[in-house]
């Protein structure tokens, strides 16, 4: 084993650029996963916050009597999808409009806004299809003038999430493929560069396991270093984004450890796979 470690370090020293290349590749592939992981993490967080704000607003025809409205409120509250129902009076509506319209709030000198029934949906029922189904049912009340639920906005939100998921998966897989190819080819080059050494090891009676071990150790070391580098890069990227664009959440420490372990595993498996295949050629 002592010899195997020495050989592994020798390989580092003899082909520093090649070693750095492998490490960087592993680091970049994990970094790509890390970035998409972060994006996914933060989009999911944002989505659940935004989803909380999904609500249906049904405008009540002016002059509707209070009994009909409150009966409707009870009805709607008993829908399985509904989290809460609230009646908003014209005065409250004006206050809210001023608040929501921000910059232009003081342009309302005396807006007359209709009363409305505001409905919030339970988690899991906030997708565009369900929202519009519920909105349709509410619209059946004849004292309801118009129903708003920002369909465009809800749909856009879901579309963004889907695109992010697909892009993450596609790019992640592409990077993983590139990483596997590069690891394989660096090992292949290392094996070829040491073909003579390997043939001489065989001549003096070294077992295949013995011949393989320096490559595996090398792979493991490179993978671990790559994983650490990826963690550092991801953390830096996160901090930079946090500083300049918007604050984002970072991974749980246990995921960070898992990422480094994944690097080590990529290095080890890549080496094991490639060395097995190429040792036969030498």
């Amino acid at each position: 084993m002592r010899l195997a470690w020495r050989e592994a370090f020798l390989a580092f020293r003899r082909a520093p650029v090649l070693s750095i290349l492998s490490i960087t590749t592993i680091a970049f592939s994990l970094f790509a996963f890390g970035l998409f992981g972060l994006v996914a993490l933060n989009i999911r967080r944002q989505l659940s916050q935004l989803e909380e704000r999904v609500e249906i607003r049904a405008f009540v025809v002016d002059g509707t009597n209070a009994e009909a409205t409150s009966a409707a409120l009870g009805d709607i509250a008993s829908f399985p999808e509904v989290l809460s129902v609230k009646l908003v009076s014209p005065e409250e509506a004006l206050l809210r409009a001023r608040r929501e319209l921000g910059e232009f709030s003081d342009v309302f000198e005396a807006g007359i806004l209709p009363a409305s029934i505001d409905v919030k949906l339970k988690e899991g029922y906030r997708d565009p299809a369900t929202v519009s189904a519920v909105a349709g049912r509410i619209k059946n009340y004849d004292f309801i003038d118009d129903v708003r639920f920002g369909e465009e906005w809800v749909q856009k939100l879901y579309r963004i999430r889907n695109i992010a998921t697909i892009a993450g998966a596609v790019l992640g897989l592409a990077f993983a493929g590139v990483a596997v190819i590069i690891i394989g080819s660096t090992i292949r080059m290392a094996v070829l560069a040491r073909a003579r050494e390997i043939s001489i090891m065989r001549v003096v009676g070294a077992t295949n396991g013995f011949i393989r071990s320096p490559f595996l150790i090398e792979g493991l070391l490179k993978g671990t270093l790559g994983g650490l580098l990826a963690l550092l890069l991801t953390w830096l990227a996160n901090s930079l984004i946090g500083k300049f664009v918007f604050s984002a959440e970072f991974f749980d420490p246990k995921y960070a450890v898992a990422g480094v372990a994944a690097g080590a595993l990529i290095g080890l498996l890549g080496s094991a796979f490639s060395v097995g295949r190429h040792l036969r050629e030498v």
């Binding site: 010899l3 003579r196 003096v204 070294a206």
Partner: protein, 234 residues
């Protein structure tokens, strides 16, 4: 120790390199293998070393048969053999010392024993002064002697030498031959391929002569003087 039984070896593009070769080398025997270029001498040595497997027939080395041995058992068998190749096969980027030590390390020798053993081996082949040189800083004959020292490192029971004196002058050749004889005297079987008829004549050892992949003469079979006149006369 070594037994060839009706061995044929065919190479994909160049055809039959060995045809129906049978012979036996006993423990502690010293055998010369001779014959013209391309006769199949190196091929026989490669079969003994299990670098190649026979196309037909059986090669048995120290009780292990080429027919039944599994790939993973080859290294263990090889540790009992020393081998000197026609093309030396030294590690170009390591010193002479390190080249020899490497053979010992690979087989798991205790680190404390390696240093003294390497020095002793280098002394035996007359290269004590070149211990830290790289192979390319050595002359052809010096490289050949490094290869010989490495082959002796693991105290082999069989020593295979493919023209170990091809690049050596007469005096060095005699020295190396004496070294191989000494090792042989301690019970190691030696098979040596050579073109040096002078050496064969003087040495009075068993000689196998090959031609076109077949054995044409074996001094153990007949007390003839066909090519190696002095081979069997005392």
């Amino acid at each position: 120790m070594i037994r060839f039984t009706h061995v044929f070896k065919e190479f994909p593009r160049t055809g039959l390199a060995l045809q129906d070769v049978s012979f036996h080398v006993a423990k502690g025997e010293f055998v010369f293998l001779t014959g013209p270029s391309g006769a199949g001498k190196s091929t026989i040595l490669k079969l003994v070393f299990l670098e190649e497997r026979p196309t037909k027939g059986e090669v048995k080395v120290s009780g292990v048969s080429s027919v039944t041995i599994r790939g993973r058992d080859v290294p263990r068998l090889r540790r009992k053999m020393g081998v000197i190749f026609q093309d030396f096969r030294l590690l170009e980027d390591r010193s002479v010392e390190a080249n020899i030590a490497f053979a010992l390390e690979v087989t798991g020798a205790p680190p404390s024993a390696i240093g003294p053993k390497v020095s002793r081996l280098l002394g035996q082949v007359g290269l004590a002064s070149k211990a830290t040189s790289l192979p390319r800083e050595l002359s052809g004959g010096e490289q050949q002697r490094v290869a010989i020292a490495r082959a002796l490192a693991n105290d082999p029971v069989v020593l295979i030498a493919d023209e170990p004196t091809g690049n050596l002058d007469e005096r060095a050749t005699r020295g190396i031959f004496q070294l191989l004889r000494d090792i042989n005297a301690n019970g190691t079987a030696v098979i040596m391929a050579t073109h040096d008829l002078e050496l064969i004549r003087r040495a009075e050892c068993r000689t196998i002569e090959m031609n076109h992949g077949a054995i044409v003469f074996d001094s153990a079979d007949q007390a003839s003087t066909h090519l190696a006149p002095g081979a069997n006369s005392p």
